[in-house]
């Protein structure tokens, strides 16, 4: 897969805690989701709950249709923090509450893996603890302007 065996050193650039300020934006991104992504996450995680792939079942349990795994949303939201801190091993705590479902409708026509939901994620520094050398990043995760996660907080060790 890789083109060369040289390793880009810039992947290890960890922010200097002295330069990190509360309120600072650490990154933002969008995450496009399709039914194919839900099936991929089910396979990778072992979570095969049918509310994430079967319309009839989802409706029978009172949902409006198939929804994304909360853990898919949570898992996808944190990557911008990993990129910012330069090393996924520096993420020491990560929590979230699942407040709103993320519906991922089936496509009506065309490619079966077309995007039918798009999450928007913005990460902002919520707290800096210089003594412990930790920073808390708060993630705002929204679907069409509505928050889908609450208290979505990541603590990184710098």
């Amino acid at each position: 897969m890789s083109t060369t065996h040289s390793t880009p050193q810039n992947t290890a650039q960890t922010p200097d805690i002295a330069a990190v300020e509360k309120g600072q934006e650490v990154g933002r991104r969008t995450v496009a989701l399709s039914r194919a992504d839900l099936i991929r996450y089910a396979a990778a995680s072992g979570d095969h709950n049918p509310i994430h792939w079967n319309e009839r079942f989802a409706r029978e349990v009172g949902l409006d249709g198939v929804i994304a795994h909360g853990m898919l949303t949570m898992g996808a939201a944190v990557d911008l923090v990993t990129e910012w801190v330069g090393d996924p091993g520096r993420v020491v705590d990560y929590q979230a509450r699942f407040t709103k479902p993320v519906p991922v409708p089936d496509v009506v026509s065309g490619a079966p893996d077309a995007t039918t939901a798009e999450l928007s994620i913005v990460g902002t520094v919520g707290m800096v603890d210089a003594e412990a050398a930790t920073v808390r990043v708060d993630l705002a995760v929204t679907l069409e302007g509505t928050k889908v996660l609450a208290k979505s907080q990541v603590v990184v060790q710098l």
Binding site: V61, V78, D79, E83
Partner: protein, 153 residues
Amino acid sequence: MSIDPALEGREYPPAKPFQVSREAVREFATAVQAAHPAHHDVDAARALGRRDLVAPPTFAVIVAQRAEAAVVADEEVGIDFSRVVHADERFTHHSPILAGDTLHASVRLERIRVMGAGAMVTTVVEIAAEDGTARSTVASSLLVRADDAEEDA
């Protein structure tokens, strides 16, 4: 039918050990759209001083949910999984989960909060490497909704 708060604190035997393969780390990272090279490329992980591929921050959920299955299967607790909504999740990482790890996990029923005819059930899973080194603590809450008849009452 509500869940008996007296079951709080119940502990379960360890789940079957989970071997973390590079393929599992890459597949999970791809599924959560985690592009960091340390999840995918062994050289990139080693450049960070890690022994092997570093699992994404929520990878531990795979291991945690396997352990939590013991609680869901416990008839005395009586969770109707078709009425469950995942309410919250928290990972506390004591050391990074790496490809090559064999993980041991055990679950306890941390808290049962009765809410009307339903309940909020919080489980805590402790995950450790083969040599006993603590890797992650995973707390998860499930909201078990009352069935429709009780909701309407």
